[in-house]
Amino acid sequence: MDLSLSTRTEGDRTVVTVGGEIDVYTAPKLREQLIDLVSSGNYHLVVDMESVDFLDSTGLGVLVGGLKRVRAHEGSLRLVCTQERILKIFRITGLTKVFPIHASVDEALKASD
């Protein structure tokens, strides 16, 4: 399945809803989306991954790139994910220490550091 992307604004945060497979083929689309958001001044991102079926290390790289970009502006990038098979790759790579991972978009919107 291909990647689907949609964004909406909630207060000072921007929610990016991602669906489908984030892999070496589709990751460029996600990267472009994140770059667009940051360059238009959106520094507090919530990436909702509940509809993601597949995530590989290329996808992780794009998320890490996004995190670096928002951090350069004192921003934040929070993930929403409860799917065990997706969480597993964050755990294996130690990236659970880097990304705040929330159980729902609401929780992510309310969270602060």
């Binding site: 497979e21 892999d23 070496v24 083929y25 990751a27 990267r31 597949f54 590989d56 290390s57 290329t58 992780l60 790289g61 794009v62 890490v64 790139g65 995190l67 670096k68 970009r69 951090r71 350069a72 098979r85 597993k88 790759i89 294996i92 790579t93 130690g94 990236l95 220490k97 880097v98």
Partner: protein, 157 residues
């Protein structure tokens, strides 16, 4: 020893094809449904890595994936054309520092989105119990094996 070999031009779209084939053959070879997600991710990592190696070293030569189903093992081998050094220089999972990866390196523009070379291999070794990475004159071989019940033989009547 039923075997399927897939060679493909080093393009991201074909990594999806490789995943699809590996998944179908693994299922047919009797790999447990619970393990199939792991197979899909590991094959995707191995093939993405090989595509990246080829794109920088030898974009014309195909990446090769071999699926073998013998007795109670299902094996996937992905061969890229990269020389010995590539595989040797790659960090093991233990060496990855997630914090460092994500440090706000605002001074360097453009910000790189690719994780360090070897990250894919590190994911594989964190994921798959039985994996071997070797290099020879052909390039680097990533060989991963899972348990399976052989149901691939032709119908026995």
């Amino acid at each position: 020893m039923p075997t399927v070999e897939v060679s493909f031009t080093a393009l991201p779209a074909h990594v999806r094809t490789a995943r699809l084939v590996a998944l179908a053959v693994a299922r047919r070879a009797g790999v447990d449904e619970q393990i199939l997600d792991e197979v899909r991710l590991a094959v995707g990592e191995a093939c993405s890595r090989a595509v990246n190696v080829h794109q920088s070293k030898s974009p014309e030569s195909p990446v090769m994936m071999r699926l073998t189903d013998e007795q109670d093992r299902f094996t996937v081998e992905v061969v890229d054309c990269g020389p010995l050094e590539d595989a040797m220089g790659e960090p093991s999972l233990g060496q990855l520092d997630a914090e460092a990866l994500a440090s706000p390196d605002a001074t360097s523009e453009p910000i790189p989105d690719l994780l360090p070379p070897g990250f894919g291999l590190a994911v594989i070794s964190g994921l798959v119990e039985d994996v071997a990475v070797t290099s020879d004159v052909d390039g680097t071989h990533v060989r991963m094996t899972w348990p399976a019940t052989d149901v691939m033989a032709p119908e026995s009547r």
